[in-house]
């Protein structure tokens, strides 16, 4: 295989991976914007997206499309439950905002462990898969062959991003969410119900996360603990692109995916996982606002 072809393979793989990171980062952004919470369970939505679909399709034998749609609904519902039962109750009390956030982060870590443990019980430790959406025959493009699923991944990710962007800019609910992220106190004064926003953001991020899981599972398979790394790396992607920024999530996701893929292919594949976190540290050190610049991160 010529070098150019290899490079192309890496790039394509990077874009694929980047899509999932972008979706996860998007989920982080939305929740963070609405409630200042970093939802460490974000990766678990992706994991559940994959595994629940496998269950519905593989065990209950629902048609694939129906499984996928039902899964998205189920995972969205789980997201709402999480928000209602763990975030909302912890949010009360006249505590300093920043201290509450620390507690909330730890709660989401607990939730993530809980979901992970539950998944292990229900699905076991082996990786499980889904069929690709449009068959197995690889597409050849400039001598690089790749799995057609990739088009689905990137395509639907972009679709999800566009839908969410549209939602945030053009619907009343979406604009309310943006208002929340800009200035919570002001939003409250304007009559926007912060609690409702928090719930909606969780629902959206759960939904998009599960879509990401559904998309990626046919390619990479899914395990009960797959959510952890995806979540963490998706978080890195968010920070890289500019935390809290919708466009930043996308940029960060693709940038991270590409860098990780190229790094793994060209430099070393055993350090692949380290790449994301190394970039995270570099960004935190030299440009904490991320590529596209996030909102308030420093204290006065």
């Amino acid at each position: 295989m010529s070098f150019e072809t290899q490079l192309l393979q890496y790039i394509i793989a990077g874009l694929t991976l980047g899509s999932v990171y972008a979706i996860v980062a998007l989920g982080f952004s939305m929740v963070y914007n609405a409630s200042k919470v970093i939802n460490f369970a974000q990766g678990e939505f992706v994991m559940l997206g994959g595994l629940v679909t496998i269950f519905l399709y593989g065990k209950i034998h629902l048609p694939l499309i129906l499984s996928m749609m039902a899964t998205t609904v189920i995972v969205t519902f789980i997201g709402i439950l999480i928000e209602r039962f763990t975030i909302a109750p912890a949010n009360v009390g006249g505590m300093d905002r920043e201290k509450v956030v620390v507690i909330l982060i730890m709660i989401t870590i607990g939730v993530s462990e809980f979901l992970k443990g539950g998944a292990m019980l229900l699905w076991g430790k082996d990786p499980l898969g889904l069929p690709t959406f449009s068959g197995e025959k690889p597409i050849v493009f400039w001598k690089a062959s790749f799995n057609p699923q990739i088009i689905w991944v990137v395509g639907i990710t972009l679709l999800v991003v566009i839908l969410i962007k549209f939602f945030l800019s053009h619907t009343l609910l979406g604009k309310a969410m943006r208002g929340c992220s800009d200035n919570q106190t002001l939003a409250r004064l304007m009559g926007i119900d912060i609690k409702w926003m928090s719930m909606v953001s969780f629902a959206l991020s759960a939904a998009s996360g599960s879509v990401g899981g559904i998309l990626i599972t046919p390619i990479t398979l899914m395990t009960f603990d797959g959510g952890l790394m995806l979540g963490l790396k998706g978080f890195c992607a968010g920070v890289i692109g500019g935390f809290g920024n919708v466009l930043g999530s996308i940029v960060g996701g693709f940038v991270l995916g590409l860098l990780e893929s190229l790094g793994a292919g060209l430099i070393s594949s055993s350090y692949k996982d380290a790449i994301a976190f190394l970039i995270l540290l570099l960004i935190l050190r030299f440009r904490p606002t991320g590529i596209l610049g996030a909102k308030t991160i420093t204290r006065t």
Binding site: V101, G117, S270, R285, P288
Partner: protein, 322 residues
Amino acid sequence: MSRYRGVLILFVITMIFPLFVKSHYHLNIMIFIGLYTILALGLTLLLGHAGQVSLGQACFYGIGAYVSGIATVKFGMNPWLALPIAIAITSILAFFIGYSTLHLKGLYLAMATLGVGIIFNILFVELKDLTGGAIGLMDIPSLSIGGIKLDTDLKFYCFVWLIVLFIFFLTINLVNSRVGRGMRAIQGNEMAANCIGIDSFKYKIKVFVLSGAMAGLSGFLYAHFINFLSPSVFDFSFSILFLTMTIVGGRESIWGAFYGAALLTILPEVLRRYEDLNVMIWGLILVVVLIFFNRGIAGGLDILVKKLESRFGKKGEWRGGQ
């Protein structure tokens, strides 16, 4: 000196314990409780006193263990010489991380420690020549003090617990001092603390370095106890475990470190049968404690004691941080 009451009680309990319990299994558990208490103490100071979250304590634990392990196995160094090196390295690393992130929102320290932790975990696996990789580093020598080799459970048990008790002594002194008040002031109201003359940035860095050093010490002891290291003991889930210990035990109280370490070391043993449920239960405990029992076990005991005190009419001196 009523402030040392707890240490004395613990001293008596731990020294009497092996007279009644001789099994290796139980001594082992107690040793681990001791090791984890040291680590959790550092984390309690960081989390409960300075209000910062670290998601990478397992990393410092691992560095302390591997630095000494490698120095003694690969370079034939005397472990007592490796100890200050291990502590120095963890401290310097913690300083770097703290200096870079502690002037930003608390979230950033959490993220940086997460990233560093994962990177080091990968390094532990990949730098096979040094660390033995996933197979592990073997034949780490036991410690000797003045000719006595600490190669049995009983000897190591006494050694560890004397260290733990000494560290408790030091920590109690620290918490009741100007420094302890300074940290609690930052936790209470950082802006006011600054206006009163406390350099909160410098304090946070110091506490973070201290927590890293304590975790490193714990790792050092671990390496020379088990005489074998495997990278899987130092991954992200252990960082979460340590965090859980601190929170469940009660992060605002230094005794919380002991309660949390004890509970979360004993619990998985008790639930051996249900080993598969382990992870789920962690998560559940963590969430429930955070929502409903914010002050953890120590807080609960505190409330109980206060109720008893008021029932019997004794008005105690109230100090923060106990």
